[in-house]
Structure formats: C-alpha cells, structure tokens
C-alpha cells in the first residue's frame, strides 16, 4: 500500500515513540526504586517479603520495556545503537549485568535448594535497584552533554576514550541526572508500596522516608534542569546537517515547541503534587500523579533532545560525527513498516492495564505473605 509520508515525518514519529518508551521505562523503574529499600525500609522479614512481592509482580514490565526500548532504538536509529552500545561498553554492560542478576533474583530468592542463599539474591535486587536508575540517568545525560566518539565515512563508530563510557560518570551534569532518576525511582517505589501493600506500619515508614528522598530528588532535578536551560546545546543546521554549539539551545527548544514545554510543566507539577499527597496526606494514590508526571517530564526531555534541529547524541570528540534523528535513522521503508507495527502499541497498553488491574485488585498484606495461600510468593 502506498502512503505518502515523508522520511522526515517518520524520523520525528519514531523519535516520539522511542521517547515514549524511554519515559515509560523511567516510570516503571519504580520497581528498581522499591528494590533499593529492601534492606532499609523493612523492619522484619514479613515487611521485606511484602516489598519484594509488590515489586516482583511488576518487574517483568520494566524489563520488557527496557528490551523493547533497545529494540526500537535498534530498528529506528541503528547508528545510535551501534555507536553508543559498541562504544560506551562499560556503562551499558554495567546496566545489563544489573538486569541479569535481577531477572533471577525474584524467582530464586525464597526457593528451597537455593545454594547461593537468600541474602545473595536480595543483594542482587538491591544492586539492580540502586545501579540501574543511576546509570540509565547518566547515559541519558550524555544526550545533552555529548559523548566521546567518531564516525568514519562508512558510518562505523569508534569510541575515543579508553574508559569506554565510564567517563560519563565523571560529568557533573550527567551525574545530576543519574541522581535525579535514582531518587525519582525510589520515590515512585515508595508511592507504589503505599498503593499496593495494605500495612499500616510500612505505609507510615514509606511516607516518612519520602521526605529525605524528595529533598535529594529535587536537588538533583533543579540542578539538572537549570544547567540544561542555561547551557550551550548541540544545534544542527537543517540545510547542511552541520552541528554547531548554540547558547541556551535547550531553552530555545522548549520555547520553540510550546506543547513540549506544557507537557514538561504539567508533568513537573504532577510529580510535585504526587509528592505532596505522599508526604502530607494519607492517600494511597500518589503513584498515579507521580507516575503520570514522570512520563510527561521524561518524554519532554527526550523530545527537546532530538527535536527542533538538535543532535540527540552529540560527539564532543568530533562535532561532525554527532548523531541526529536525520543521519542516524533507518530508511524510509523500514520506518514506515515499523510505523504500522507501532499502531499495535495502544492494544498492548490496554491489555497490560487490564491484567495489571486484575492482579492488583486485592492489595498485598501480611496474611497473604505469611499464609502463602494459592499465590506464587517470592
């Protein structure tokens, strides 16, 4: 079937889809945030088991979203996939290792015959909970600060730092985004705990713990956003494809795309309102405000990284090698084919919603955990 859609439109469409998947991933990292509390929030074994089971019933969504995010990047922007994964090797490997140990930890933790011991798998969950949001935040930070790579005329990438991506950790702005994502995921984890676990003591502890995590989150978020708005950015000349530095580029991007700015502002307000309800009310619903706000804020940040003639993966080694949604994308045919596939995403979201509700209808409580019942307990 012939469809007159331009390559440029599809590049923007796919940047939107990838951004949406990235923002959903950050929201779903409430699982990692929750995992990071298993040693410090739980007062006894039952509380720990309740937290692990609350997160354990959702870990696969986060995992699957990460894999789909990677697959979508590969399919739509293969030059980014090849350059970043093949170059920033150690950062990506650290992220992947943390997910490898997570995938088995839930299922094996409390199983009889577990030769590695319960504690080992709890440490695995903690490591994944603490490391992956931090590192994913740092990697996304390089979308705004740049990375050390070059691309030759055959479009083969080469990493120009012997640290293979670890150097990104030393950049304060990257680190601030990493810390922001880490504390945001922890806050979302606490919000999910009060939403899905029916336990007065755990509820009170989670709300109390939200205060200090909110302070840390807001400090990181403000630092990152302010530095983003006042910093130079990597602009692209749409006629020549040349990449150059532009003052206040990301501020300009927000102003040039008012809808994205509105999404960002509403998202920020929703996250703040979620924090308010978490700390100052006894409501069980902060996750919905915090979650929706997170998706909107992260989506807006991804969009300003790639839209409005901006390099979404700039090279600080060689500006000319910087990646844009124009030079890094798949062909028109592939993007168009993939567009048809992407129309299935709403159907996927609907069945996820339906299944999620079916499982979450009854909150987790001590009785369920201690009596085991018919359930599959981690």
């Amino acid at each position: 079937m012939y469809l007159a859609i331009s390559h440029a439109f599809l590049q923007e469409y796919w940047w939107f889809i990838v951004s949406l998947l990235g923002s959903l991933l950050v929201f779903l990292m409430f699982v990692q945030g929750g995992q990071s509390f298993i040693f410090t929030l739980a007062g006894d074994e039952s509380e720990k088991t309740m937290i692990i089971n609350a997160m354990g019933r959702k870990w696969e969504f986060t995992f699957t979203t990460l894999v789909t995010f990677g697959g979508a990047l590969f399919a739509s922007f293969p030059l980014f996939y090849a350059t970043s994964f093949g170059g920033a090797y150690w950062v990506w490997m650290a992220i992947l290792f943390s997910f490898v140990i997570q995938a088995v930890a839930y299922e094996y933790r409390s199983r009889p015959g577990n030769v590695l011991g319960k504690r080992t798998f709890e440490i695995f969950l903690f490591l994944n909970g603490a490391l992956s949001p931090l590192l994913i935040g740092i990697v996304v930070g390089t979308f705004f600060t740049g990375a050390n790579f070059s691309i030759n005329d055959m479009n083969f990438g080469k990493w120009e730092s012997p640290w293979y991506g670890l150097e990104a950790v030393l950049n304060l702005r990257n680190l601030s985004l990493g810390i922001t994502v880490l504390f945001l995921s922890r806050l979302l984890g606490l919000m999910y705990i009060v939403n899905t676990i029916d336990d007065v003591e755990l509820d009170a502890k989670a709300r109390k713990r939200s205060v200090i995590n909110s302070v840390n989150f807001l400090a990181g978020f403000l630092f990152f956003v302010i530095s983003l708005l006042v910093s130079e950015g990597f602009a692209v000349n749409p006629d020549t494809g040349e990449v150059f530095m532009e003052k206040f580029k990301y501020l300009h991007n927000f102003l040039a795309t008012p809808l994205v700015l509105i999404i960002f502002l509403i998202g920020t307000l929703l996250v703040l309102y979620g924090l308010y309800r978490m700390i100052f009310t006894g409501k069980k619903d902060p996750i919905w405000f915090g979650g929706a706000g997170t998706v909107m804020v992260v989506l807006a940040l991804f969009l300003v990284a790639g839209y409005n003639n901006t390099s979404f993966y700039p090279s600080v080694f060689d500006l000319g090698s910087s990646l844009t949604i124009r030079n890094a994308s798949s062909s028109l045919y592939t993007l168009k084919t993939m567009m048809w596939v992407s129309f299935i995403i709403p159907v996927v979201l609907v069945y996820i919603w339906y299944a999620w509700r079916a499982i979450n209808r009854k909150p987790i409580d001590r009785t369920e955990i201690e009596e085991q019942g018919e359930g599959h307990i981690y």
């Binding site: 697959g71 997910f99 490898v100 088995v104 030769v115 005329d153 798949s330 596939v341 085991q372 307990i377």
Partner: protein, 520 residues
C-alpha cells in the same frame, strides 16, 4: 572498512557471544515446550474442573517459572550484545535486523510478561477462564518471540528483501514480506520451536518417571507422561520433517555449511548420506585440512535424493566451493574474492568522490553501483573482499559434522522414547517398566545435548559469515579493546555458571518436594 583487524578481539567477541547463546539456549527450549504442555494441562483442568489437573498444572508451572527466570536473565545480554560487541554489524544491517527485534518486543515480550504475571499470581484472583487464556497467551507469546528472533537470524543466513545503499554504506530493507517469509526463517522457526516441544516432552517424561520409580505422586506422573508423550510425538514428527526441509534449503543458501555437515569434500553424483562415521585427516590444502569419513555407515545416493530429489544429481563438495567447478557452474572462492574486491573498491571510490565533492563522479559511480548486473555479479560477493585466502570459507568441519550427526541420531532416539511412553501409557503398564523409566531419566541430559549441538551446527557451520557472503565475522566487531571483552567474557562465565548451579539446585529440590510441599 576496517584497516586493522584485531583477531584476538574477534575471537573473544565470538567466544562471548557463543557463551551467552549457549547458556541462553539451555533454558529457552523448555520454556517454548513446557508452556504448551501447561496449556494442555490447564485446559483439561478447565474442562473437567478436576483438582488433580489443577495440582498437576501448578506443579509444572512452578518448574516453568524457575526455568523461565534464568532464560530471561541470559536473554537480555543477547539482544544488546549485537550493539556492544558487533556494532559494525549493527550499522551494516540494522535497517533490516532491528525491525524483527523491535517487533519481538512489542508483539511477543509484552504479551509474555503481562500474562505470565496473571499465570503465576492470578490463581484465586481472576476467573478460571481468564487464567486459562493467560496461560495460552504466555505460550503463544513465547513462540511469537521465537518467530521474530528466528526471522532475524534467518536473514543473516539468507539475506533477502534488501538493497545496499552506498550513500549510507548499509543494507536497507525494501521488502518486509520477503524478510518474513524467507524460506530459511520458516524452516528455522518450525524446526526450532518443535525441538523445544520435544525437549519439554522429555523433561516431563523424565521427571514423571522419577516419581513413579520413587513410588510417589503416581497419578500425577502417569497423567503427565501421557500428555507429554503424545505432545512430544507429534512435535518430533514435525521436527524430523522440518529437519529435512531445512537441509534442502541449506543446500541452496549455505552450501558450504551443508557440505560441512556431511564432511562432503569432493562433489559427486549419487552422493550417499553418512549415518555414522569418523573423520580422518587426508592432507593440508590451501588454508584448510581435507578430511575423509572412515568407518562409516552410509545410505547410498540418499544425499543426492534429499538435496535434489534425484539419485543421479550432483551434490557439490567443499572443494568445489573453494576451487570452483565450471561444469556445475560454481565459482571459485578466489573469483568471488576478486568480485567482492571490485564491489568494495567501487564503494571506496564513491565515498572518496563524495568526500572530495566530486558529485559528477559520485553520481556515475552510484549508477554503476545500482546496476542490477553489478549487484548480481559483484556486490553479491561483497564480503569475500575481506577474506585473506580461499580456504577461509571453510568452517570447522569436525565440530559441525559431529554436532550434526549427534543431533540427528538423538532426534530419532527421542521419538522412540515418546512412542514407547505413549504405548505403555495406553497399555496402562508404564509403572511396571522400570527399565524404561530409568532410560527416560537418562535421556533427559541428551535432550539438552541435542539442543546445543543443533545450535553449534547453525552458528559454527555458517562461519566465516555473520551475514552470508556479505559480511565476515571479522569485520563485524565493535572497536573496543580485546582486554575489555576478555574481562566481560569471564564475568559472564562466572555469573552464568553460578546462576546455572543455583537453577539446577532449586529445580532439583522443587522436584523432590513434589506438588505438595511449597516451601521449606
């Protein structure tokens, strides 16, 4: 493309990919097959309302969960490793290869992960019907996932539905339908999925046999064996049929691999099929060692019949592909290397013209590049430009030959086990056949051996190509240091081995506990 190829980097990158693939493949087949066995069992529970079937379903579901977790764990590395360790490859074919991976995520992974949560946690929380539908969707999701990754893998063995774009220096998809209906993909999908069904069937038969020998849970064990035997038998029939069609397709699209599977060095008419045999060195040729099959049992003319449908037909051997065979219209590797270099040089000239701003020359060269005759005569052999010598096209024949024959022999043994299990179940005297029950337990590790040898045939048989004739493995690697990949290789080895030990130990204890005792 790559000026200096670091062979140590290439070898460690290959080792790491092989390690992760082999570990991953220990768990995936059981997931594929056991998910459908669960479907049958739970459907029986749904239709009869019998608590016995519920207990049976839940027991096998627990084992499914233990296996599934480690399969997921080892799988994530594979997807991202295309980027981390094979970044040149990822660019060269990302326009085609990435699409099936993304579709796998959207269509299959979400289905699996969503409904597996209902399958595990939904007992007593959702209706029986919704639970059963969820179990069905997990099984369908698992097979859909296999479909898409195998479509991607098949494309590497038989690249179709694409055109090379010199502007971007990559292959670009121009026919998705051709990619999806690639004959290699169809064969591969049915062969791989049914091999998983067979392994799961043997898994259920072996564990049930253990229960019967221990005089425990006999009712559950006998019912499970009956389901597994019937399911496994039909899967084996399809497996053998698709094995045959796969070989036929291979003979056309990966003829050197096909010849290596049979250690068929010299082409001949009336070529026989080796049932069993051993390899003996004959002598060194140009960059490879010729071998001869000795002490062999051979079925005369069968290879010719299987390959071309006629006993007089000519089946080319490895030497035909290295040295060429004019009579049978087979180009030598040397000639293909020459043509590949012509294509590569044209690409370099085009890039140089673009770089220096000589658009007139660039346009002329592009027209030549796009010419159908040039594509067919030269670009088709692009990857040969990067080979050092003609003998490089020969894979490791002994490993491929022995792996192939072990896999085939075991496949026929398995169908015998399934027939016997079905027969004794039908006669209601399975519990008296102690020898068979012991044999069924002994067979289970061999089912895993068959899986791994199948994988070895596929992956080692296609060397040196990562994409058949277009890209050798050596130029597909990422530009990272060899020491970096060595370190991650050993980290993976330690981690996956530790997890495998944990998995086996947990699985063993769960089986010993049986369906009644849930926790210690």
């Amino acid at each position: 493309m790559l000026e200096n190829i670091d062979l140590s980097l290439v070898n460690w990158s290959r080792a790491q990919f092989a390690l992760t693939a082999l570990y991953h493949w220990l768990f995936v087949p059981l997931t594929l097959g056991l998910s459908f066995i669960l479907v049958i069992m739970e459907t029986k529970y749904f239709r009869t309302g019998s608590e016995v079937w519920k207990k049976i379903t839940r027991f096998w579901m627990k084992l499914f969960g233990i296996n599934f977790a480690i399969g997921v764990s080892t799988g994530i590395i594979l997807e991202f490793q295309f980027g981390t360790n094979w970044s040149n490859y990822s660019w060269f074919v990302g326009d085609i290869f990435g699409a099936p991976l993304a579709i796998e995520g959207i269509l299959a992974f979400f289905m699996e992960s969503t409904f597996i949560a209902v399958m595990f946690f939904g007992w007593g929380k959702v209706s029986k019907r919704f639970h059963l539908v969820s179990t069905w969707l997990v099984a369908i999701g698992a097979s859909l996932s296999a479909l898409w990754i195998l479509v991607a893998g098949a494309w590497m063995e038989n690249p179709v539905g694409m055109v090379f774009n010199p502007e971007t220096a990559r292959n670009e998809m121009n026919n998705f339908w051709e990619v999806l209906t690639n004959p290699v993909a169809i064969d591969k999908f049915f062969h791989t999925v049914t091999s998983g069904f067979v392994l799961a069937s043997l898994f259920v038969i072996a564990i049930s046999a253990w229960f019967i020998l221990k005089n425990r849970e006999k009712d559950m064990a006998l019912k499970s064996i009956k389901v597994a035997a019937v399911f496994g038998f039909f899967a084996s029939v399809v497996l053998i049929f698709t094995g045959d069609t796969s070989a036929r397709t291979l003979a056309k699209v990966q003829p050197v691999k096909f010849a290596a599977m049979e250690a068929h060095y010299a082409g001949e008419n009336n070529a026989g099929l080796t049932v069993i045999g051993f390899l003996k060195d004959v002598g060194e040729l140009d960059g490879f060692t010729e071998k001869k099959v000795v002490a062999k049992i051979e079925i005369p003319s069968l290879l010719s019949i299987m390959t071309n449908g006629s006993k007089n037909s000519y089946v080319p051997g490895i030497k035909d592909f290295v040295y060429g065979n004019e009579e049978h219209n087979i180009l030598s590797a040397e000639e293909k290397m020459r043509r590949g270099r012509e294509a590569r040089d044209l690409l370099f000239s085009y890039k140089e013209a673009k770089k220096t701003g000589n658009e007139v020359l660039a346009d002329e060269l592009k027209i030549k590049f796009d010419d159908a005759e040039f594509q067919q005569d030269c670009f088709k052999y692009f990857g040969y430009a990067f080979l050092d010598k003609p003998g490089d096209i020969v894979p490791n024949v002994p490993i491929v030959f022995y792996s192939f024959h072990i896999m085939v022999a075991l496949g026929f043994l398995f169908i015998l086990i399934q027939i016997l299990a079905w027969f004794y179940s039908y006669r209601n005297n399975l519990d008296t056949k102690k020898w068979f029950l012991r044999l069924a337990i002994f067979i289970l590790p061999l089912a895993y051996v068959a899986q791994e040898t199948g994988w070895i045939v596929t992956e080692l048989g296609r060397q040196p190509w990562v994409i058949q004739d277009l890209m050798p493995v050596s130029i597909a690697v990422s530009h990272v240091s060899s020491a970096t990949v060595q370190l991650t290789f050993w980290l993976f080895t330690i981690l996956f081995t530790a997890l495998l030990v944990a998995e086996i130990s947990i699985m063993k204890r769960q089986i010993q506990n049986g369906p009644k005792i849930e926790e210690e």
